[in-house]
C-alpha cells in the first residue's frame, strides 16, 4: 500500500524529467507558434498547501494545490521547490504532469525530508516558455506515526482470534470440545501408507514448489513429520523430492523427527530427501521419473502447487498410486480434485496436523478459526443488511487504506 502511494508520484516525476529533456528540444518551434498566436502569461497554481503526510514513517511531506485559474492550454506540469526558510533560495524537489495536483516529498527523492525539521514549499506551473511560481507555504514538519489507525480492524481481528484461541486452550485442556468433523483426506493418509506397505513400494511426499517463506510450505513440513512417522511405523521408505534448496534441511529434520517419533531413528535414510532443481518443470520431470522408476505407491502432494499439479497427479494416477493432495492455491485445486483420490481444500490442508495429533494445544487455534468464521458470518449478514439500508460505515471501516 505504502509503496504504491510513494512510487506513483515518483514514477510520474521521473517520467516528466525524461519528457522535459525532450521538451527542451521541443521548446524552439513551439515558442515560435505561441508567440505568433499571442499567448498570455502563465498563472501560478492556487491554494497551495503543505502538510505532514498522514500515517507515514516520518520522512515525508505532502504538497497539494489547485490548477491555475483560467484555461491553460500550454500548461505542461508543475514543479515543486523547497527551502529551509521562506527567504532562502528554493531548490527543485520534483516535477509532475499537468493532471497531478499532489506531490509527496519522500525518501526516494534526491532532496529528502528530515524528521522534525521545518520546511517551506513553493509550487510552479510551467509551460514551454517558463514557469509561474506560487507564494511560499509553511513552515511544515514531518512527524512519524506510531500506529496506523486504518489497520485497526486487523488488530481487532488479531485480538479476537488470540483471545478465542486462549479460551479454547483452556476448554480443550479440560478435555472438552475436542470434536473435529471427519476430513476424509486426512483419515485416508494411514490407509495410503498401508497400501504402499502391502505392495512393498515407497511413499512419495511432495511439499509443493515454494520456498520456506511461504506459509503452505511450513504447514507441509509439519504434516511431513506425521506422514514420515506413519511410514516409519509401517517400515516403508518415504521419498521427498524438493524444489527449493532451503527446504532441504527443513525436510531432513522433519523426516528424521517423524522416524524418531515412531521409535525407529535407524531406518531414516537421508538419501531419500532429494533436492532436484529450483526450476518448476525440471522438478516436475524429475518427480515424474521417480514415480515411474521407483514405483511409488502412495503420493502426498501437500503444499503450494502451480501448473505442475496436474502433470504430477495425472502421472501419479497412471502408476496406480493412492493420491492425497492438499493446497490452498485455488487455481490448482480443480486439478487435484479431478486427478487425486482425496483432496484437502484450503483450510482443511492447514487443519491436518491438529486433526492427526488431536493434541489439545493444536486444537486451540483450529477452534479459534471456527469461532472467527462465526464472527465473519455475522459480519456478512449484518454488513449486507446495513448496505441494504444505505449505511456504509462498516465497509468504510474495512477499507484499510
Amino acid at each position: 500500500m505504502r509503496s504504491m502511494q510513494f512510487s506513483m508520484p515518483k514514477a510520474c516525476a521521473a517520467l516528466c524529467l525524461v519528457l522535459s529533456a525532450f521538451s527542451g528540444s521541443l521548446a524552439e518551434p513551439i515558442l515560435g507558434d505561441q508567440q505568433a498566436a499571442g499567448v498570455r502569461a502563465l498563472l501560478p497554481p492556487r491554494d497551495v498547501q503543505a502538510m505532514d503526510t498522514p500515517r507515514d514513517g516520518g520522512l515525508s511531506l505532502t504538497i497539494r494545490w489547485q490548477p491555475p485559474s483560467g484555461e491553460e492550454a500550454g500548461l505542461l506540469g508543475y514543479r515543486i521547490y523547497r527551502a529551509d526558510s521562506p527567504n532562502w533560495e528554493f531548490r527543485l524537489v520534483g516535477q509532475v504532469d499537468r493532471n497531478t495536483m499532489e506531490y509527496q516529498n519522500i525518501p526516494n527523492d534526491s532532496i529528502k525530508v528530515q524528521m522534525g525539521k521545518e520546511y517551506y514549499y513553493k509550487v510552479a506551473a510551467y509551460d514551454s516558455l517558463g514557469e509561474a511560481m506560487s507564494e511560499a507555504v509553511g513552515p511544515v514538519k514531518s512527524r512519524p506515526t506510531w500506529f496506523d489507525i486504518h489497520r485497526l480492524p486487523i488488530l481487532v481481528a488479531i485480538v479476537l482470534f488470540f483471545g478465542s484461541v486462549l479460551v479454547f486452550f483452556r476448554i480443550t485442556k479440560r478435555g472438552k470440545g475436542l470434536f473435529i468433523r471427519r476430513i476424509a483426506g486426512i483419515a485416508a493418509m494411514e490407509e495410503a501408507v498401508g497400501r504402499a506397505t502391502e505392495l512393498g513400494r515407497p511413499v512419495l511426499y511432495v511439499p509443493g514448489i515454494m520456498d520456506v517463506d511461504n506459509i503452505q510450505t511450513i504447514a507441509s513440513m509439519v504434516i511431513l513429520v506425521d506422514v514420515a512417522k506413519l511410514a516409519a511405523q509401517y517400515d516403508v521408505p518415504i521419498i521427498v523430492p524438493l524444489n527449493r534448496a532451503f527446504v532441504v534441511p527443513m525436510a531432513e529434520e522433519s523426516v528424521r523427527q517423524g522416524f524418531l517419533n515412531a521409535g525407529r531413528p535407524d531406518s531414516y535414510d537421508p538419501d531419500n530427501v532429494r533436492y532436484l532443481s529450483d526450476e518448476q518443470f525440471a522438478f516436475t520431470a524429475g518427480v515424474n521419473g521417480i514415480m515411474v522408476r521407483e514405483k511409488t505407491a502412495a503420493h502426498f502432494f501437500l503444499g503450494a502447487f502451480f501448473a505442475e499439479s496436474l502433470i504430477l497427479s495425472e502421472m501419479g494416477f497412471s502408476t496406480g498410486a493412492i493420491q492425497i493432495a492438499g493446497t490452498a492455491n485455488i487455481h490448482q485445486l480443480p486439478f487435484f480434485v479431478v486427478a487425486c483420490d482425496y483432496t484437502l481444500i484450503g483450510e482443511e490442508f492447514y487443519a491436518a496436523t491438529a486433526y492427526i495429533s488431536k493434541d489439545p494445544q493444536l486444537l486451540g487455534p483450529l477452534k479459534g478459526a471456527d469461532f472467527m468464521k462465526v464472527v465473519i458470518m455475522a459480519l456478512l449478514v449484518v454488513g449486507s443488511l446495513l448496505e441494504l439500508f444505505g449505511v456504509h460505515w462498516l465497509t468504510g471501516l474495512l477499507t484499510l487504506s
Binding site: L15, V18, L19, F22, S25, L26, E314
Partner: protein, 280 residues
C-alpha cells in the same frame, strides 16, 4: 455376448490415456499443418480494426509499432503478419518502429514473409523498418514533433535521408493511422495516455488476450478505434481479410482441442452409463 459387450465397454471406459493423448495431438496438430478454416464470427473491435484500415485510400502510409517479444510471439506475430497482408493488398506504404528492443527482428521477419515474399515490396520504397529506440513514452511524444528526429537511422544503420520513403514522413500527421502491436509496457496504454489525444491519432491496437480487459476501456471511449484480441481476434481478422493463416490455424487447433475434450467427457459418460446398465 453380454460379457463381450461388457468387457468392450469396460475397456472403452478405462481407455489407455495414450489414446487420449494421440487424439489431442492430432486435434491440435492437424489444423496447424493442414488448415481447416472453421467459420469465424468477427467481434466488433476486430471489425472496426479491419474497417478503419479498409476505409483508407489505396497507397496510404501507415505507421506500425512492433512492441512485443518472443514471449507473446504465438499471439502477436500472426496478427503482425495479417496486418501486413491487409496493408500490402491495398498497396500501403508501411513505416515500422519499435519501442521494445525485441520488436525489430519480429517486424523484419514479418516483412520478409509477407511484403517482400508475397507482394514484392522494395525496402526503402514501399516499407521501412526504423528499428528500436530507447526512451519509451518520451519517444512517443517526440515522434509527435519529428519522427525523423526520433529515428535518425533505420534498423540497419542507414541514415533516413538516404531512404526515399522517409522523405514524406514528418510526424504522426504524416500517417492516417497508427497501429500498435502491444505486448505490455510501453505499448497501447502509453500511446493512448501520451499521444492519442494530444496529436489526434487514429490508433489501432493488436493485443494479446491478457491485455484485452484493460484496453477495452479505451476501445469503449473510442481512444482506440479498433482492436485485435489475442489468437481469437487474430483469427477473426484473418477471416475478414480473406486470408486465414497462422491465427486461424491456432484457433482451429484450440477449437478442436476443446471439442475433443468435450467429446471425451461425453463419451466417458456414455460408456460409464452403458457399462452400468449392462452389468445391472
Amino acid at each position: 455376448m453380454a460379457d463381450d459387450k461388457q468387457s468392450w465397454l469396460n475397456r472403452m471406459a478405462n481407455l489407455d490415456k495414450r489414446w487420449v493423448f494421440l487424439c489431442i495431438l492430432l486435434a491440435v496438430g492437424f489444423p496447424l499443418f493442414f488448415p481447416i478454416g472453421l467459420p469465424m464470427r468477427p467481434s466488433q473491435p476486430v471489425k472496426d480494426f479491419y474497417e478503419v484500415l479498409q476505409a483508407l485510400p489505396d497507397g496510404s502510409m501507415i505507421l506500425l509499432s512492433g512492441d512485443y517479444d518472443p514471449g507473446t510471439k504465438a499471439e502477436l506475430y500472426p496478427q503482425n503478419v495479417a496486418i501486413l497482408q491487409q496493408a500490402c493488398k491495398k498497396h500501403m506504404k508501411v513505416v515500422a518502429i519499435a519501442l521494445w528492443p525485441t520488436g525489430p527482428p519480429m517486424l523484419e521477419r514479418a516483412f520478409n514473409e509477407v511484403a517482400v515474399g508475397q507482394y514484392g515490396y522494395k525496402y526503402g520504397v514501399d516499407y521501412v523498418n526504423l528499428g528500436f529506440k530507447e526512451g519509451r513514452e518520451a519517444v512517443m511524444v517526440e515522434m509527435g514533433r519529428s519522427i525523423r528526429h526520433a529515428f535518425p537511422r533505420d534498423f540497419y544503420g542507414t541514415p533516413i535521408s538516404q531512404i526515399p520513403l522517409m522523405d514524406k514522413v514528418e510526424n504522426y500527421n504524416s500517417f492516417p493511422v497508427l497501429i500498435d502491436i502491444s505486448a505490455g509496457y510501453p505499448g497501447t496504454k502509453e500511446f493512448v495516455q501520451y499521444t492519442q489525444g494530444r496529436f489526434n491519432i487514429t490508433l489501432l491496437s493488436a493485443a494479446p488476450a491478457v491485455s484485452v480487459p484493460e484496453f477495452s476501456a479505451y476501445y469503449q471511449s473510442r481512444q482506440i478505434s479498433g482492436m485485435l484480441t489475442g489468437i481469437a481476434g487474430g483469427a477473426e481478422y484473418e477471416a475478414l481479410i480473406g486470408h486465414p493463416a497462422l491465427s486461424a490455424r491456432a484457433m482451429d487447433g484450440i477449437s478442436f482441442g476443446h471439442l475433443v475434450i468435450i467429446l471425451f467427457i461425453l463419451l466417458g459418460n456414455v460408456f460409464h452409463f452403458l457399462g452400468k446398465r449392462t452389468s445391472a
